[in-house]
Symmetry: C2
Subunit: 168 residues, 2 copies
């Protein structure tokens, strides 16, 4: 397969993949393009590479920067801004885990705390089922929380090697 063709394929698939995980297609595609670009590139490069508008490009780059996956770089002598993605995929994953945990898991746990102490008699099976469900989810959530925290701190090899040892 030719490089140009493979790049297209990768960008397109990465975009489709993103949509299955609640990430918008264009954002994932910009990320893909940056991942396979050896050097920093500009907004115009991205617009051209993906055939998208300036506004769309700008918004999604900003979002990628917010997620901590992309950095703005200023090249000496250049007027335009350039962008570059973190290439170490393990760091990328840790960064995504960190952000999603903060944005989703933490608020969910807070909510579950409130829901857990609903009024009513636990002998009422409606109350019991509700409380049991909420408690079960909370317990799982707390475990995920702890595990992910440790994962975020861990070094790739340390984590992976241990997992391999553990499961072998």
């Amino acid at each position: 397969m030719k490089l140009i063709e493979a790049k297209q394929q990768f960008i397109s698939s990465w975009g489709a993949f993103g949509t299955h995980w609640g990430i918008n297609r264009t954002m994932a595609q910009i990320h893909a393009l940056l991942l396979i670009s050896p050097d920093p590139i500009t907004q115009d490069d991205i617009m051209e590479g993906l055939n998208i508008s300036r506004g769309n490009t700008n918004m999604n780059i900003r979002e990628l920067i917010n997620w901590g996956l992309v950095d703005r770089v200023i090249l000496p002598g250049e007027r335009k801004e350039f962008f570059i993605a973190e290439k170490d995929i393990w760091k990328v994953v840790r960064q995504i885990v960190k952000e999603r945990k903060k944005r989703e898991l933490d608020p969910m746990l807070k909510l579950l705390d409130q829901l857990e102490d609903v009024d009513g008699d636990k002998r009422d099976k409606n109350v019991k089922t509700f409380v049991d469900t909420i408690s079960g989810i909370k317990r799982l959530g707390l475990q995920a929380d702890r595990t992910l925290d440790l994962m975020i701190k861990a070094e790739e090899n340390w984590f992976v090697n241990n997992l391999i040892k553990l499961f072998k």
Copy 2:
């Protein structure tokens, strides 16, 4: 907080949560409603509980059944079909992991295999960056694949206890 209010809150939040993970809002809400229902319920119960149409209800129940999260049950003497959700949240998570792995991770790994042997000289930095990116993702994907396979097979306590030990 009153039970009825807490139920509403849970259903609504579970729906919102789902949308962040590529699951459609209604499907997640139906799942939530079933999780907190002590006894099996009918399509009409769901329609009424969530204020949605028959068609929508039917489609999303079918989807939940496909995901292995909900079962159809026939009650003796009843004409209508009833539905019930798996209540053990650890089983639910394993089932979701299993399905998403099959639907998303496996195809992605297959694609990466193809993309990895792109034509061209690795001394060309465009080729090198591309291949390195693809290889990095593939390596991570393979590790995730193995780990998740073991997780799917594992018992809750076994897995969690080991992780806790590992990270302490």
